[in-house]
């Protein structure tokens, strides 16, 4: 059995156990290991050249039954019954449909109930499970690590490699423990934890590592919250982030369409229980975060590590010691049109984006709706709410969240990546400022010249009400909430 847990082995981390269980062969003389891939997620943007490579070499997809595709990155979020207006987007979608038909790959197209952001679809179908390896031509594949899976983004050449061989040659990662102890205060969420982690270790701090999120604050999170955290591991430079599977994980997976059943379920759970990091296992690096001290967090710059507590001010680059960080901060402030010392809460926004693979699951929408319920959005602020999948959209509508959102004055859209990366028409205009629940505040990511502040769904909601960067705490101060 691959899922071998011999007592004679030295103590291992979660990541090492999953890695070892997928070793097809161990690399020698500096060669990488060959790792088996349990689940390959495919979307329209990073796959066309990979399928083309297979076709040219006359190779089939080795395991169509371990492969699934969805359309998400450049699909429109309104008028989805009409042909896609942008010709190049349409070509890419049509190419995916043709490739999936030719190679026998399951595809959930626009309009299908299982269509949506690839990292929302996998967990929702029960395909994402503890202890498996998951890859996708998308860096936010780290999301699936929330289940105790080893999940990471790959480039298009690797997509082709997995399609052809169901394996990847890889060098083992180093391991880093991120321990978050304590209790989050009301109004502080998983998003604030991960933004604080990235601000602490930097956008390069996790390079070469798999991060394992541990501690009481992580254990207390729901699967949706854990996915938000693992999702942004790549923003700290780490290809993967993981959380040990527990009751919360098993309860989430059980009963989903592709979850194991009967004896298989019992066997699977028995194995999943062995995955947690052994006592005495050592990590190559360790980081500690005090959950009690965390406040709602927001980014002020153009990389996700440039973040501070919302109650803070825009930092002064002069006070940054590292010359590269200082130069990056100076350029960021210029791009963001912000002056050092400005209180974050004084910053007015033009738009609020609620969505993306980081924060578009049902709990995210519930959190957002709980703050805006019965209120009206600030004048002049455009508020766009984009569910992560068609199924999340239906679930939200069954709960009446769509009504709360539209009564508030926000746009209620169809599922997709949308304004997270502006490949479809959902973009910021030059100079527009946005509070966004997405994962990257890079220059121009949400539209050329657009300015992004990364926030949690709760902060997005409070900001949409007040028109300036705000948290639910500010609403309470005004006596508007509760």
């Amino acid at each position: 059995m691959n899922a071998n847990t011999s007592d004679t082995l030295p103590p291992r981390t979660l990541a090492e156990k999953v890695w070892d269980a997928h070793l097809v062969s161990k690399g020698e003389n500096g060669e990488p290991d060959l790792i088996y891939i349990d689940l390959h997620l495919v979307h329209e943007v990073t796959s066309p050249q990979a399928f083309d490579g297979l076709r040219m070499a006359g190779r089939p997809v080795r395991r169509p039954d371990l492969t699934i595709a969805t359309e998400d990155h450049n699909t429109p979020t309104i008028g989805i019954d009409k042909p896609i207006a942008d010709l190049t987007s349409r070509t890419q979608i049509e190419t995916l449909r043709r490739n999936c038909a030719e190679f026998g790959v399951r595809l959930h197209s626009l309009g299908d109930i299982e269509q949506g952001i690839v990292h929302v679809v996998g967990p929702q179908l029960g395909l994402t499970q503890p202890g498996i390896t998951v890859v996708c031509g998308d860096s936010h594949t780290s999301t699936h690590g929330a289940f105790g899976a080893m999940a990471f983004g790959i480039g298009t050449s690797e997509v082709e490699h997995v399609l052809a061989t169901q394996t990847l040659p890889l060098k083992p990662f180093k391991t880093m423990a991120i321990t978050v102890e304590g209790t989050l205060r009301p109004g502080v969420t998983a998003k604030d934890i991960i933004l604080a982690v990235i601000a602490k270790i930097g956008t390069g701090g996790g390079q070469g590592y798999v991060l394992e999120y541990r501690g009481s604050a992580i254990r207390a999170l729901s699967m949706d919250g854990r996915m938000t955290i693992c999702n942004m591991s790549i923003e700290a430079g780490a290809r993967a982030g993981m959380v040990a599977p527990d009751h919360t994980t098993f309860d989430y997976v059980k009963g989903r369409a592709h979850a194991p059943e009967g004896q298989d379920w019992d066997d699977a759970v028995a194995y999943w229980r062995t995955l947690a990091t052994d006592d005495g296992a050592t990590f190559d690096a360790e980081v500690f975060i005090d959950a009690d001290a965390l406040e709602p967090f927001v980014t002020w710059g153009t990389n996700p590590g440039q973040g501070v507590s919302l109650s803070d001010t825009v930092p002064n680059p002069v006070e940054i010691e590292d010359p590269h960080e200082r130069a990056a901060a100076e350029r960021a402030l210029e791009y963001m049109d912000l002056a050092a010392g400005t209180p974050l809460k004084d910053i007015a926004v033009d738009a609020v984006f609620m969505g993306s693979c980081t924060n578009s699951r049902i709990e995210d929408l519930r959190a957002f709706a709980s703050v805006i319920q019965g209120k009206k959005k600030a004048d002049g602020v455009r508020v766009m709410v984009v569910p992560g999948s068609a199924r999340v959209r239906i679930e939200a509508e069954a709960e009446g969240l769509d009504k709360i959102i539209t009564d508030f004055g926000a746009e209620w859209r169809f599922a997709g990546c949308s304004m997270c990366l502006g490949m479809n028409p959902d973009q910021l205009a030059p100079g527009e400022r946005c509070a966004s629940t997405s994962n990257r505040n890079f220059e121009g990511r949400q539209g050329k010249g657009g300015r992004t502040h990364l926030v949690s769904p709760l902060v997005a909601a409070a900001t949409a009400i007040r028109g300036t960067l705000s948290s639910p705490w500010d609403l309470q101060i005004e006596g508007e909430a509760r």
Binding site: L34, L125, H258
Partner: protein, 200 residues
């Protein structure tokens, strides 16, 4: 893939750190279904600026890009590597790369070499004193030479070997496909399958 041993060419002093792949190629350019033709998309957000270093006449035809730390972070888009290749770059040197970008580079014949930060500064200084000077990047010896200065760069042994031999990963893996067959026979029945489709 072409065999790679040594490159001699003009080097660009790219004085920026934290250049993520969204900056290397913005998402709007990712809609093509081919692997070529991305040269116009490279650093598209900065190219309109006539003072942008790649627009300067002395660096036209450059083959080597020398950047600050954390180059190629963020999105997994291999288009970032294709755009650099299409523009004419064979080599990128930086004190530190995004992991996915570095992996993608090796698969497309782009040498991503890690050079210590003081050495990057020294190379920048030499190039800026003599813009258009040709540097030599020697993959066999793992060193960069600019005039009288020669500094080492790091690249892992396996990637170096594959670049030198011009080998394709899939071909390498399939040389011994039996080991994959053997592994698959031991996989547990409860591991997830996407087919047949099950309704929730």
């Amino acid at each position: 893939m072409q065999k790679f041993e040594k490159v001699t060419g003009i080097a660009v002093p790219f004085r920026r750190s934290n250049v993520d792949t969204d900056q290397i190629i913005p998402a709007v350019y990712l809609k093509r279904v081919t692997k070529t033709g991305f040269e116009d998309a490279l650093f598209a957000g900065w190219r309109q600026d006539p003072e942008f270093v790649l627009n300067r006449p002395e660096y036209q035809g450059a083959r080597i890009l020398i950047t600050g730390p954390d180059f190629g972070t963020g999105s997994s888009r291999e288009h970032a590597v294709w755009a650099l290749r299409d523009f004419g770059f064979d080599v990128v040197l930086s004190p530190r790369f995004g992991d996915i970008f570095r992996g993608n580079s090796g698969k497309q014949g782009l040498l991503a070499g890690e050079v210590a930060e003081p050495d990057v500064e020294a190379l920048w200084a030499i190039i800026e004193a003599q813009p258009g000077i040709e540097l030599t990047v020697d993959l066999v010896e793992r060193k960069v030479t600019a005039g009288s200065l020669s500094v080492p760069f790091e690249i892992d042994d396996y990637t170096r070997w594959r670049l030198i031999e011009g080998l394709d990963d899939i071909g390498l893996t399939l040389r011994d496909a039996d080991r994959i067959d053997r592994f698959e026979q031991t996989r547990e029945s409860w591991r997830p399958r996407t087919l047949p489709v099950k309704q929730s």
